[in-house]
């Protein structure tokens, strides 16, 4: 087992502990009141994530260094994304006000990411099928950010331009050779981590649930895009994001009780 694999296992163990710690109070909250849809969907998503993490740990220990061709943990991750999206949908108040721009952005951005995943892994059926829930998730996040006015105009423009610039760097990296390739790599990773950190700080400061889910989404994108040690940093950020999302979900659930 390599050092990276060991660290990956360790991070996943931490993730399972965090998820168990999240699940215990969440289930208690659900049992108390049957109107807590947000917490119900969130808890079910966390349950899927927990089993997925268990599977990952078991796989890394039992079959270290072998590629997972098609695994159940991807189905669990997919369901987690769907459940998190459903949890966001229960919060949205602007159910009939869909701006076409949001849909177009979501469609183009996720499609570009799926294209990149296919180019990196070659598993096109898998990447397309398991990429589909991300359309729903990103769309819900964007709708939430817009309706709650969590970002100002400049920040919104940065959030539109930035991700596409990253996609551009990553596509450039695919077709460039030599030094140019390294430059594209550096620019892509720097931008991904800059956006992830910015989303993280902004979401923790404001406490906005959609931004926190946005932070979670960015950590996933970083995990899928980055190799080796950068992947480990993204995984660690994902653990933090899971926890901050839980805090926001809990706050929203309790707020609903007061309403």
């Amino acid at each position: 087992m390599t050092v990276e694999t060991k660290l990956s296992v360790l991070l996943n163990i931490i993730l399972t502990v965090v998820l168990i710690l999240i699940l215990i109070p969440s289930v208690k909250m659900i049992v108390k009141d049957r109107k807590r849809f947000l917490m119900l969907f969130f808890s079910m998503g966390c349950m899927c994530y927990l089993l997925s993490a268990f599977y990952w740990i078991a796989y890394e220990i039992i079959r270290p260094g072998t590629r997972m061709p098609f695994a159940a943990d991807e189905i669990a991750d997919c369901s987690m994304i769907l459940l998190f999206s459903a949890s966001l949908e229960t919060l949205l108040r602007d159910k009939k006000k869909n701006a076409p721009g949001e849909l177009i952005f979501t469609f183009v951005y996720i499609s570009a990411n799926i294209f990149l995943w296919i180019m990196w892994s070659g598993e096109w059926v898998q990447d397309i099928v398991f990429g589909l829930p991300y359309y729903y998730f990103l769309w819900m996040i964007i709708r939430g950010i817009r309706s709650s006015k969590a970002l100002n105009k400049v920040e919104l423009i940065a959030c539109i331009v930035g991700p596409f610039a990253i996609i551009g760097f990553q596509i450039g990296n695919l077709y460039a050779a030599g030094n140019a390739r390294n430059i594209f790599d550096l620019m892509a990773y720097t931008s991904i981590y800059f956006f992830m950190a910015w989303f993280g700080i902004k979401s923790i400061k404001t406490g906005n649930i959609y931004l926190r889910y946005g932070f979670f989404f960015w950590t996933l994108i970083a995990m899928y895009s980055c190799p080796e040690y950068l992947y480990l940093v993204a995984t660690a950020s994902n653990i933090l994001a899971t926890f901050v999302v839980y805090l926001a979900v809990k706050k929203e659930t309790l707020k609903d009780d007061i309403r």
């Binding site: 089993l51 997925s52 268990f54 599977y55 039992i62 159940a72 769907l82």
Partner: protein
Amino acid sequence: MIYAENVFLCIAVPLAIAILFTRNSARRMTVSFLTGMLVCLLSAYIGGFLQLVSRYSSENMSIFLSPIVEEVMKFMPVLFCLYIFEPTYDELRLTAVGIGAGFATFENCCFILTSGAQNLGYVLIRGSAVGVMHVVTMVAIVAGLHLLKTYKVFSFSGVSGALALSVIFHSLYNLLVSKPGVSSYIGYILPMLFAFVLYLLNRLSKEFNEDQKA
């Protein structure tokens, strides 16, 4: 090689006749048990086809694809029953348990015919691990569906979540038992442990519902 269809017919005919002389929950259980056996046979066909197409080894097949095929196949009749007959929670759980038990029984029959039943330890492990696992995943699915119905949020996301939980649990079991040693022991204990946890949760929710009614 065994002739699974012949084994199926041999076990299914007396059960099919038994349906004529049973009523209510006994009939429901028998029909579900038969359905579970049929689903097991169909899963084996689909699994065999996928193995040919994907060119996976038997081990990779059992770790990666079989759990998905089997859980989806077991889930179909439950979903059908839920939408067509609109059963109560107890009726649905009975159906699911019957399907899980039928599936596990038929699978165990085929395995025992293939590898023999001389080794009592092996037979016990097969019964208490794989057998229980098929029942437990079905109970978990039904509990998930019931939760969604109770909270009136029965949606695609919720249903897929319940199904995913059973798929990943099954996959985790198959992965753990794929290599001998500590991992396989954990795998063998897992279904029993999960069955116990589900039983406790069921009791707790019953007590909670009674308190709410009172």
